[in-house]
Every structure is written in C-alpha cells, then in structure tokens.
C-alpha cells in the first residue's frame, strides 16, 4: 500500500478582498464609520470640557468642507451598518415562534429596518421640534 501524503493548500491571504467575501469585508468596514463618528463626538465633548473657545474650534471644524465630506461618508457608512445589521440579526437568534408558526428571517430583517426608519424619523423630529 502506498503511504498517503496529503497536500495542504496554502490559504490565500487576500481572500477578504475577493468575491463573495468582499461584501462581508465592506459590512465589517462600516465599523470605521461608527468609531470615526464617536471620535468626532468625543472631540466635541473634550472641547466642551475645555471651554468655550475650544468648543468653538470644534464647531468651526464641523462647518469645514473636510468635516462635511467626512460626515457624508459617515452617513453612508451608518446606513450601510444599519441595513447589514438587520440582515445578519436573524442569524444570531434562535427560531422564533409567532402565532404558532416559525417566523421567517426576512420578517425579522424587515421589522428591524422598519424600527430603524421609525427611530430615524423620531430623532429628527425631536431635534427639529426642540431647536431654538
């Protein structure tokens, strides 16, 4: 009998950049928008704690084209984050039973996105309503 000598193929280091994994990598990359926005808020809180002049610097930064472009990217990232979040959420839950039937995963996604949309509208409404 010949001895077996199995061949182990090396893992491609760039697998995350190729289809079908690129979509997953982009989903994970939306975390950069979440962290990035948190850092902008943190900078604002630190400036607020420092004093009015520091805080005005932060406000001026927010008005700059750099910041506005950055926030457009953040917004795209946040929306992508929300959408992909609710796409994957049903996978993290056991099979739910509603009204004697297993709830299809797509309904969980649809429900989640609906809640997110309602939450978006609500927050914007509250902001516009409480503005000076």
């Amino acid at each position: 009998m010949s001895r077996s000598r199995p061949y182990i193929r090396p893992v491609e280091t760039l697998w995350w950049a190729r289809s079908p994994y690129l979509a997953y990598t982009l989903r994970e990359a939306t975390g950069v928008a979440v962290l990035g926005y948190a850092l902008v808020l943190l900078a604002g809180v630190v400036c607020l704690a420092t004093g009015e002049r520091a805080y005005d610097v932060w406000l001026d930064f927010l008005k700059s084209p750099w910041s506005l472009s950055l926030h457009v990217l953040f917004l795209i990232g946040m929306i992508a984050h929300t959408w992909t979040w609710f796409r994957i959420l049903p996978k993290t839950m056991p099979r739910l039973v509603i009204g004697g039937r297993i709830l299809p995963q797509i309904r969980i996604t649809a429900g989640g996105v609906a809640v997110a949309a309602a939450s978006f509208i609500f927050i914007v409404f509250v902001a516009v309503w409480t503005q000076p």
Binding site: L35, L48, L59, L62, W85
Partner: protein, 101 residues
C-alpha cells in the same frame, strides 16, 4: 444595535444639518445649549452611552477585519484595538466628569 438605530440620525443632525444650518438652526449645538445638555445627568448618560458603545463596537469590527487581513498577530491586534477603546473610554469619562453640573 444602538448604532444601527440612532447612528444615521445623529450623523445627519450633528454632522450635516446643524453645521450647515440646513434643516436646523445654526445655534442648535451652541456652547450654551451643549453645556446645558452635558451638565444634565441624563445628557451626560446619553453622551457616555453613545460615545462608549460606538467606540467598543467600532473597535471590535476593526479588530476582526484587521485579523482577517492578516495585519498582525492575533494578540497584538487584540491588545491594540481594545486598549485604544479602553483609553478612549477613560477620556470620555474624564471629559464628562470635568463638565460637572
């Protein structure tokens, strides 16, 4: 989950609407209003939760992505990502405490 629910609205309001004055008045985030918000215990809590949860969620996603990309040894990446998140959390606590009430 928090980022998924409130992230887009916050970015739109604080990053685009308030600075440009489109949709919100220009002094939506004025020093006086910001201070009043941050000095209130509920405002502090909201700022803390939003900033800290976003930081940790972002840190985890970035750690996993860097690990997928073979950017470094698993433990080094873990340390860098989560230590940074820890430090930023402490800064947040410090800044909010400094604002006082």
């Amino acid at each position: 989950m928090l980022a998924a629910l409130i992230g887009p609205a916050l970015v739109l309001l604080t990053g685009l609407a308030a600075p440009t004055g489109i949709g919100l008045t220009n002094n939506f985030m004025s020093f006086a209003r910001a201070m009043a918000f941050a000095q209130h215990p509920l405002g502090k809590l909201i700022l803390f939760i939003v900033i800290v949860l976003f930081i940790w969620h972002g840190a985890e996603r970035i750690y996993l992505t860097l690990r997928d990309m073979h950017a470094g040894a698993k433990f080094s990446l873990m340390w860098i990502c989560y230590m940074t998140a820890g430090v930023l959390t402490l800064i947040t606590i410090g800044a909010l405490a400094t604002i006082g009430s």
